[in-house]
Subunit: 154 residues, 2 copies
Amino acid sequence: MHVQLAGRLARRGNEPLGEHCPIDVAVQAVGTRSAILLLREAYYGATRFDDFAARSGLTEATTAGRLKALVEQGVLEKLPYQEPGQRKRYEYKLTASGEALMPVVFALAQWSNEHQAAAAPIKLSHSGCDAPVTIKAECSEGHAVEMDQLIVTS
Amino acid sequence: MHVQLAGRLARRGNEPLGEHCPIDVAVQAVGTRSAILLLREAYYGATRFDDFAARSGLTEATTAGRLKALVEQGVLEKLPYQEPGQRKRYEYKLTASGEALMPVVFALAQWSNEHQAAAAPIKLSHSGCDAPVTIKAECSEGHAVEMDQLIVTS
DNA sequence: CGGCATCCTGTATGATACTG
DNA sequence: CAGTATCATACAGGATGCCG
């Protein structure tokens, strides 16, 4: 397949892309509200069960089930740790796979910021220079890639 | 709120962010498999009902319901058009809001490409220079922003 | 503190058939 | 071509309570 988005080349044929399409795979893996909200809290610094549950606003049952699923998928790691003189606890830490979902989550935020009146916008900025941050498509030559310049090949 | 991701500053307090969090708003608006798959097909060039249904693999009923919802949300526009000598048809076109979701959809693809074995990777490239394209966080000064350099303020 | 079990509701989606 | 109608299934998620 070879498609230029919003460009001259459109997809040909009407076969469904099927279950191996990476977009579909990702949606089926982490496309639930609970997964996204728990990832949000992981980015915001949560590592313990009770923090995940309280900050996400999900019930404990939902939190428990989704955290377990995210661990099984390799998005989070469950690690026992013990502070000196304290009892044993567990922490959930982002794996490289979980960190790689960051653009997804903040691209959702960016979209609501600009296109959903119901949202209370958040601001993203760069700790190095304080400049505002956006999630965008960019090529390895450093060009910002707009939709009509993006070519998809499979 | 002021949070530096994976950095020193973590979120304080355990209040749930609530329903106005832009991430939550976006998930509730377009966080279904059918919405994402139909957006995928819109980016790939679909404009007509039957194309959306056949290429997404969704049933006609699901396609009809989700297209209607996306139109009501302002993500797609339903426009009547008539080619000379042909009968009246309808086309679904992406609005600015729908185009703004592109980074979300391709960030999902990018994640599966790299972290989900079940996915058949797709390649993104820039029509201008053929260089590979990624979805990433970048500040207005042109710096790529890694997770530990991203500050969130609300 | 960090969960799991149970029950219940709403909704997303599929399958199938039918209509203008 | 562009849907609608009906039926059935699966799962997400809330509410509540229990447990080590």
